[in-house]
């Protein structure tokens, strides 16, 4: 429990939801209900559990149980509002170092657990729940796909400790047959390969990057800034009739993504 309080994910969940009670007694997936813009919202974070039964998922990784619990937490929210005209927002507080890498995980089908989580978030978005991903720490690879990447809007803190990537540096270097130094050099020239949040922001996938005064111990002003950004994101989602992820395609470094879609659309009907 001590350690839970020290991770960024746990800290931001507490700052944003106060003393709101946990809705489950799950040690590594925290779910609570607390207001956003004065209305009820569901807040979800993954935190470390040193006693995790799965030894490769003890440091905040998204493992088998975490994936399915994330799925369940989101499903419950959708079920709760099934007949409601207004669907409550879901905020994923994102600080996930990676998916769990282990033999047990592969044997029991961790890919399916993460599909459970990603699918549940996507279904919530399609059902009309405003889904916001707040990146306060690491947002790595499969863990990010499972927890937050399906959000209508992504917001990130501008912080050296905030990082989005497909694979840790050492493994990425091994797989691409490069040294870590060569990988870092390339990352400076090739924006999608970079690990820092500014380069990531240049891809146009996050809607906002926030500059805080005190990253380690955020004060009232920092908290107000984050809350304001979440409220603005919520308002933006509510005004937008788009339920998909099209808003992410406008970045300067996504020209190819736009060109391919334009070509497909042009040729789609002609192919009949």
């Amino acid at each position: 429990m001590e350690q839970n309080q020290t991770t960024r994910g746990a800290m931001w969940l507490r700052l944003l939801t106060g003393d709101a009670a946990q809705l489950h007694d799950w040690p590594s997936v925290r779910v609570c209900e607390a207001p956003l813009a004065g209305q009820p919202a569901r807040w979800i974070a993954v935190v470390p559990d040193l006693g995790n039964r799965f030894p490769r998922a003890r440091n905040g990784e998204v493992g088998l149980v975490e994936g399915w619990q994330l799925a369940r937490a989101v499903q419950e929210t959708v079920e709760l509002d099934r007949d409601a005209a207004v669907k409550r927002p879901i905020v994923a507080v994102i600080d996930v170092p990676s998916q769990a890498y282990g033999r047990r995980e592969e044997a029991f089908g961790i890919h399916q657990a993460l599909a459970g989580a990603a699918g549940a978030y996507a279904q919530a978005r399609l059902a009309g729940h405003p889904v916001i991903g707040l990146v306060v720490g690491l947002a790595m690879s499969g863990a990010f796909l499972a927890h937050g990447y399906q959000a209508n809007r992504l917001i990130a803190l501008d912080d050296p400790g905030v990082m989005v990537h497909a694979m840790g540096k050492a493994s990425a270097a091994r797989v691409t047959l490069r040294t870590v130094e060569a990988l870092e050099q390339l990352a400076q020239k090739v924006p999608p390969m970079a690990y820092d949040i500014k380069s990531y922001a240049s891809l146009g996938i996050v809607s906002q990057v926030l500059q805080l005064a005190n990253l380690a111990l955020p004060g009232e002003q920092d908290l107000a800034l984050v809350q304001g950004a979440l409220e603005a994101a919520l308002a933006g989602i509510l005004e937008d009739s788009e339920r998909g992820l099209a808003s992410r395609l406008q970045g300067q470094h996504r020209q190819a993504s736009r060109r391919v879609r334009a070509l497909l659309e042009q040729e789609w009907e002609a192919a009949d």
Partner: protein, 288 residues
Amino acid sequence: MTDIDQLLKRDSFIERNARSRARALLDPGTMRELAGPFERLHSPWLAMQHLVTQSDDGVVAAKGLLDGRPTVVLAIEGGFQGGSMGEIGGAKIAGSLELAARDNRRGIPTQAVILFETGGVRLQEANLGLAAIAEIQAAIVDLRRYTPVIGVSAGTVGCYGGMSIAAGLCSYLVLTREARLGLNGPLVIEQEAGVGEFDARNRSLIWGLTGGEQRVASGLADACVQDDSAEVRATVARLFGQGVPARHRSERAQEYLAALERADTAAQPTADAVRALYGATDNHRGDA
């Protein structure tokens, strides 16, 4: 026919490249490729790193008919950059699925097949590959509300990384015995967790736990087929005939959580232990 005759006469699906696989699935003469190689869609990011590009970026998007029904086949070329997902290849898959969903909203019942032969994100395009995979996942979940999205992984690359999560979102999954399906490749696990956790050279361990036969036996995929183009096609057609499942595999959180609760995690599980755990749960297995 003896086994040898069968082996000699069958039309291997695995040996076909992506374009030829797409053609094998669609009704003869109906295939039309979209955003094809003559559009010269080379990856700008690979070029920047002085790496070899390909004019279709390793993904074939083909529209046509399957048993007379409008179908889009998205075939990943495992022979180019390990079937990795970059910005362009990823956009072809996501964009085609988005258009298929739009068709369905307009009353045209376009269905989709994805041929997974991929190591996941192309690390040379890292964050744009990851973003494209998130968009593919979003599009599968959108489209599968209207019509089944069928995933096939034949081998020999298998289906890994973020794309294994995409496979887990499909309505039905078809695998061969040669296929492997898992989130983290053996080399990456060995790198991250040590050889004691996973020996990447141990082929029987890899196929035993993550191969097509095991995945189907444990309910994580729907059909295990021979490496035979006619059988792959017939199986895909039969699964389309079953329509959208009442509940997708990715929606079964409660059952999987209950099963994992019972799992013995003190030791590494055997293939049989996984089959026993998931087989005993309930209706995980599809009709296939």
